[in-house]
Symmetry: C2
Subunit: 406 residues, 2 copies
């Protein structure tokens, strides 16, 4: 059964080599006169990327102010600074030069610049954003899909909260995707990014209440491509075509496409991971890899047919006695094959040096931390997370425990 859905991806994508020089004309076509350029690491400046951006903006008589310093798990503190600058300088667009953290931070500034109250209200769900400045993106890392998504996740150092705000008005006006900008990304960040991309489709694919055949086909094709290209990049980080495939997969995996017609989005693994990176500041994709297998084994009984389909279509698991057609196969047999698919996924994570347990990710982690994370995850989410299987506080703790020391 196909479920009703909305699909809205207004972001103009400009993909390919030598596309950074188009930033001026793109920003101008969206009416920009003065922009805030928001960025993270000094890599953007050292590489000469920032000069290209400035030159292109100058060609179109667009003024700019700069704000760097975004870190992974971007901080609210810097967002407040950005909002102050945006208001004081009267900027009419935020341009994010970086990966998901920079874009998420830019989105938060874009909300705040058009809001008189505290932007954190939107993340606490006390209020919802009605307006935002347009955001333009030059993407330097494939992972979060924020360059096309409606999502922004910000960490509050003071309260140790890591919270998301989803709103269509934050979908970027345009995003420039030049695969060559991702060539110098370290192996760990590349692999963690690939896991995050894969997971954005997992969160939509594993559903217990109906799905769409076309969406399954698209999701499976995307997952196969990401796995294939992750392995290629582990072998050869300079494989430009594989970088390109991963970059575009990142945008499509989280713009809504891979969930159309499926029941709900699960995102339980994401929410469990948010507590992990809020507490230990780990890389999001690595946190997801450490948790997913445990989540999957915990929920497989609710939809063995989805895990079976995943195992056979994506992970190349063949029916174990070779002659079981889909019509004949029992739920038990589906589960058996589904579990092999989960195992194969964890083997894939290992092959690209991603962790598959919490101890492996955070050697100092203690059982008491799990209780704490389950409490916070439960409190923040109003007691329940997930859609494929709805999980309460005890379920969350069970999954953390399963993932603790596998």
């Amino acid at each position: 059964m196909i479920n009703n859905f909305n699909y809205y991806t207004p972001t103009k994508i400009v993909f390919g080599d030598n596309t950074v020089c188009k930033i001026g004309s793109l920003a101008s076509s969206f009416g920009a006169k003065k922009v805030l350029i928001h960025y993270g690491s000094p890599r953007a400046i050292k590489s000469g990327l920032m000069d290209s951006v400035k030159n292109s903006l100058e060609d179109f008589n667009i003024n700019y102010v700069l704000l760097g310093g975004v870190v992974p798990n971007p901080r609210l503190e810097l967002v407040y600074q950005g909002i102050d600058i945006a208001k004081k300088e009267n900027v009419d667009m935020i341009i994010a030069v970086g990966g998901g953290s920079v874009i998420d931070s830019a989105k938060a500034i874009a909300y705040g610049a058009k809001y008189d109250g505290d932007v954190w209200d939107f993340y606490l769900k006390k209020s919802s954003p009605k307006e935002a400045l347009p955001v333009g993106v030059i993407l330097t890392m494939a992972a979060t899909g924020s360059e096309m998504s409606n999502s922004s996740v910000i960490s509050n150092d003071e309260t140790k909260e890591k919270l998301g705000c989803n709103s269509d008005i934050s979908r970027p006006a345009f995003s420039i995707l030049d695969p060559s900008l991702t060539l110098t990304l370290p192996a760990y960040q590349t692999a963690a990014g690939c896991v995050d991309i894969l997971m954005h489709t997992f969160e939509r694919y594993f559903t217990s209440k109906g799905n769409m055949l076309l969406t399954d086909e698209i999701a499976e094709g995307l997952m196969r491509t990401v796995i294939d290209c992750s392995i290629k990049l582990k072998e050869n980080p300079k494989d430009l075509d594989a970088r390109g495939e991963i970059l575009w997969a990142g945008s499509l995996s989280h713009n809504g496409l891979t969930g159309c017609g499926n029941a709900g989005n699960d995102f339980a693994t994401h929410k469990l991971e948010h507590e992990l990176s809020a507490k230990f500041d780990v890389t999001h994709g690595a946190g997801l890899a450490a948790l997913w297998g445990s989540w999957a084994r915990y929920v497989i009984d609710i939809c063995p047919e989805r895990f079976y389909r995943f195992a056979t279509k994506v992970m190349n698991i063949s029916s174990y006695n070779g002659d079981i057609s889909k019509e004949d196969i029992s739920k038990e047999e589906m589960k058996k094959l589904g579990l092999l698919g989960i195992e194969a996924t964890e083997d894939f994570f290992k092959s690209i040096d991603m962790p598959t347990s919490l101890k492996e990710l955070v050697p100092s982690i203690k059982i008491g931390d799990l209780e704490d994370m389950a409490d916070r995850c439960s409190n923040i989410s109003g007691g329940h997370i997930g859609s494929c299987k709805i999980l309460g506080r005890e379920d969350m703790l069970s999954i953390y425990k399963m993932a603790f020391d596998r």
Copy 2:
């Protein structure tokens, strides 16, 4: 090798049962105060659909005027009428209630309402549209993808021309896709629509100058789904899920997604078909089915590896001695399997009662007509069509001749 690309699909999609009632709130969210409702057959009125549309608009205090009478291969004459009404009544949005012909006609009116000159200029490429009224869509037939595409094709009865105008400003603001509205579509229109959908991906998939792996995966998944559901609908026209799959496939197949990173779009078969339906007023999808196999056999030598991939991944052709891996296979073997894939595609067309020759489609057609069509196709296109293989006037004639009486 991946090619640079732009991807831009701003249309807000609202998909599913009972979504027609959202037309008022959607139109209102795009600022509509007075709209022109454009439609085709009286079916929209008889079915009660038009009443639902009117009621929903009235709920949001949106005024409307009506213009019906759009026919397949929509006529310029009616477009002029629509432009007059739109200007006189000062409407701020065109709402298309129908299939591709109605939407294409609505787009032409939307261009013309914001233009002082003759809207046909845009189709003759004498000028390009700078502005258009927003278009909203209630889709009643899956086929052209116009509900999400930048394309509009209009027929000029006086000059016997059928010409297209592509511009991103004509991409609809929103489209409502309710599969139940397509349940009563006659079998022939259903099948022709499925061929058109398939062909929009074919035109992007068969390329000789580079492609993207992720796009191939998405394209192949879409093609498998369309073929599968076309056959389901031939058996059971009331299969609502199959209607839904086809409806969404229609939008995705022509919004640009299935060509990202591939070299050029071919669209030679489409252009050859335009001359056919301009001359004989045949159903577009049926015309495409009658021509495609001949086009494919004519160009296969330029990219046997694409036809081979298509044959094995989409048409279930297995390597003929069972043990040829992709790396080992020669171009000759690829072509051999590719030709089997083309044959299987034509068998599929036949299975859903679509023609695979021109004689079958237009029994009265004469060899002289082919010369005439090749002349017109060549003249209109400036001498050449296609991208996979560039075709001149003699190539066009050869393909028409191959398709004449197979």
